[in-house]
Amino acid sequence: MIVRILGEGQLAVDDAMADELNQLDVKLEAAVNAGDEAALRPILAELLARIRAVGTPVPADTLEPSDVILPYADASIADVRGLLSDEGLIPG
């Protein structure tokens, strides 16, 4: 699958990573729902570090959409919530 880390670009990641990704995603969701900034930081850092470690950068001239899009590394709870809202951070 292709994973985009916002601000960093796309990485090709083995599909077998999906389970691990989902587990971290559950923790991420708990932190966001709880508004727990202190909890979010290490989870997001771990999630991105794992993807960077196992992923291979997709060539820049590839025009393929990503399967998964992850928040940027220094995203706060507010930023993540912005990404989750339709009105959010993405310039129209």
């Binding site: 916002l6 820049a60 590839t62 899009i69 129209g92």
Partner: protein, 269 residues
């Protein structure tokens, strides 16, 4: 639904939305390409803005470091002359500058990281825009409107996602840069007002003035000692013995020089 899935879905939906309005999919290609070129300009401007900000912070850091070095030298001179009060004052000012400097260093590193990220993003987008342009021409030359639909879908989605990402990165960098510019402006103002102890750059460098006076009287003292030593050895000419006490009397009166508010020539460094 999970955070990651929702982020992915909403991000893509938003990135693609602008393109759904086009009736002829081939129009979508041209429209998207136009947007891509605009985005490229925008991201390059973003890189330039961040670089300008970084250079400004760098200049301020250099200025603060120079002041610190100068204050350090003044403290040394003051202490050498037995003026611990002056040395303490110089060191106090030096340490006040340190927190500003630390803050600037953090800003500098942050701007440097942003600049690198944006530069990389700009290069990625450039490569994708180039690839898109080639595909666009192929699709337009080869397919009818109906046939083009599916071919266009993926290319457009892929680049729209990239543009959404880059657009967001530029926006964030610009917001951050604007904040830092405001802080940098505040430091410039503080420096201009003298509140940041920019004493060494001003004619009214009180520490330096006292040091200069102190230096003057010390030279005379040293000279006196030398002469006394010579006299003791019976080698000194008579006329020097006569002039020395007068010189010492003038220089020793340190308060007299303070009234004259003259710029110190030694401040130019």
């Amino acid at each position: 639904m999970s955070v990651v899935k929702r982020v992915s879905m909403i991000f893509k939906a938003k990135a693609n939305r602008a393109l759904d309005k086009m009736e002829d999919p081939r129009e979508t290609l041209d429209y998207s390409y136009q947007r891509q070129l605009e985005m490229l300009t925008q991201v390059r401007r973003g890189v330039a803005d961040v670089a300008t900000s970084r250079k400004r912070v760098e200049l301020q850091m250099n200025a603060l470091q120079q002041q610190q070095t100068k204050l350090d030298g003044q403290a040394r001179t003051a202490l050498g002359g037995g003026r611990e009060d002056l040395a303490r004052e110089a060191l106090t000012r030096k340490s006040a500058l340190q927190s500003q400097l630390t803050d600037l260093q953090t800003q500098y590193q942050s701007l440097q990281a942003d600049e690198e990220k944006l530069t990389a993003a700009s290069q990625r987008l450039q490569a994708k825009v180039e690839a898109f342009r080639t595909q666009k021409e192929t699709i337009k030359a080869t397919y009818t409107a109906a046939e083009a639909q599916t071919r266009i879908g993926e290319a457009v989605s892929g680049i729209s996602e990239e543009m959404g990402d880059v657009g967001m990165a530029v926006q964030r960098a610009q917001d951050k840069t604007a904040q830092m510019q405001a802080r940098a402006g505040a430091i410039d103002e503080l420096m201009a007002s003298g509140a940041l102890d920019d004493v060494t750059a001003q004619p009214n460098d009180d520490i330096q003035r006292e040091l200069d006076q102190m230096g003057g009287s010390h030279d005379v003292d040293r000279e006196l000692e030398r002469l006394k030593g010579e006299l003791d050895q019976g080698e000194a000419p008579r006329e020097i013995e006569g002039s020395a006490p007068g010189a010492a009397g003038t220089a020793g009166n340190g308060q007299a020089g303070k009234a004259a508010d003259q710029p110190q020539a030694g401040d130019g460094s």
